[in-house]
């Protein structure tokens, strides 16, 4: 099973997500990337992310995305 960092890299392989302070402000993820990412995370972890949680601030860092996945039911 892929982890979230691997999923991010598969969606935007041209960016180094480890060296970013804010994925959104730095233009690394657009709105369609968020949707692609949500679909991939849901499939990878067998969870459903609430539509109201699909907002840029929940995707601006790896920690934020990890927290969202956990809130949405991902088991540690």
């Amino acid at each position: 099973m892929k982890n979230i960092a691997e999923i991010l890299n598969s969606i935007r392989p041209e960016f180094d997500f480890n060296n970013s302070k804010d994925f959104i402000k730095e233009g690394m993820l657009d709105s369609f990337d968020l949707i692609t990412l949500v679909a991939a995370i849901e499939e990878a972890f067998g969870i459903k992310i609430d539509g109201r949680d699909i907002v840029p601030e929940n995707f601006n860092s790896l920690a934020a995305i990890e927290a969202l996945a956990s809130r949405s039911g991902r088991k540690k």
Partner: protein
């Protein structure tokens, strides 16, 4: 705002779909994004195929075609039409009203009302509510609610935000008084402060069309369009729908004292497949009760997606059975509205291809 009506019915729906099918696989090369990135969105968003009109085809062409078909099929008598409500955002001209053009082209009687309403994604509900109100007048017996748009003509083919999903279509919904007293519950909300989330910036009186407004530009994210093209802030629209639509439906169901599980179908506007699935999950409604197949097979034709949803997914069932359905539309304005009503035992419910 909650609204309540009695003694109204939908007695028939016809959808008119352009014959021209545009396939996403063929269009992917038009976008300035890597092909593999674009193709990843295909199944999630429902980028498959959509119906678009040939160059030069206008809203009145689709509507006249559909009404003539109904007359030819014996479903409608020309002189029985007391009102035409056309809901569109792509009128043939600024003036006269396109509903008058349709009346004139069909040679309908003069003793009637023709009215254009500028609404989009919630246009089916807005049209029905206006028709219900017109039927308070005893001389008005039959109202034609025409939903029609040809917005592919205003959408850049290099805009991956909008073009893969845009569809053209028209529908003719006949609304009449019914003999029963079954209540129809509705809700309408509007928020003009978010009007720029979906718009065509230039070409009206505020910013008239000029050579400068026709220049195609990259919007900074790789989508190329002019100021005369439709532009959508996808993130804002998505957040608005997820925030406002589920509570509207729950509130409507409570107002009608009808639990969601008693509703046979949730026939919603379909901006994209992902959004419909998220709405179904939020409302805990099975996907099969909230069909999401229109946008991926016909496109998002604004206010016409709901009637197309009915004719494609229910079709003959809407003639043979009675069903409790919830309609909901949401988008440009911003506007969001919903109606909970019984439909069925219609005189007709089918789709035709525009030739």
């Amino acid at each position: 705002m909650n609204l309540l009506y009695h003694g109204r019915k939908i007695s028939g729906i016809l959808s008119v779909l352009p014959s021209t099918i545009s396939k996403f696989d063929d269009e992917a090369g038009n976008y300035s994004f890597p092909r593999d990135k674009t193709m990843r969105l295909k199944s999630v968003m429902g980028f498959n195929e959509h119906r678009v009109v040939p160059e030069g085809v206008c809203v009145s062409d689709l509507c006249v075609f559909g009404i003539e078909r109904l007359i030819a099929d014996g479903k409608l008598e020309k002189d029985s039409i007391d009102a035409i409500l056309l809901i569109t955002q792509s009128p043939d001209h600024f003036m006269p009203p396109t509903s008058n053009i349709i009346q004139g082209r069909l040679g309908l009687k003069r003793d009637m009302i023709c009215l254009d309403i500028n609404q989009g994604c919630a246009g089916f509900e807005i049209g029905l509510l206006q028709a219900f109100a017109l039927l308070d007048q005893q001389e008005i017996r039959k109202v034609l609610v025409l939903n029609a748009d040809v917005l592919s003509r205003k959408t850049s083919k290099q805009d991956r935000n909008s073009y893969p999903l845009i569809g053209d279509a028209a529908s003719i919904t006949i609304v009449e008084r019914s003999g029963d007293d079954i209540p129809i519950h509705a809700n309408v909300q509007m928020d003009g402060s978010q009007r720029e989330a979906l718009q065509i910036p230039a070409g009206g009186f505020r910013i008239p069309a000029t050579p400068a407004t026709a220049i195609m530009k990259d919007d900074g994210s790789g989508n190329i369009r002019s100021a005369e093209n439709l532009v959508m802030n996808g993130q804002d629209v998505f957040s608005f729908v997820m925030t406002e639509v589920p509570p509207m439906i729950q509130s409507l169901a409570a107002y009608a004292d009808t639990p969601l599980e008693k509703i046979d179908y949730f026939l919603f506007h379909q901006p994209n497949k992902f959004m419909i699935q998220k709405l179904a999950e939020k409302l805990e409604v099975p996907y099969e009760k909230m069909p999401g197949n229109i946008v991926e097979n016909y496109g998002n034709s604004s206010g016409v997606t709901i009637p197309v949803n009915v004719t494609v997914n229910l079709g003959e069932r809407a003639v043979l059975e009675r069903l409790k359905v919830c309609f909901a539309g949401f988008g440009v304005g911003l506007t969001w509205s919903s109606i909970l009503m019984d439909i069925g035992k219609m005189d007709f419910c089918y789709s035709v291809n525009f030739e």
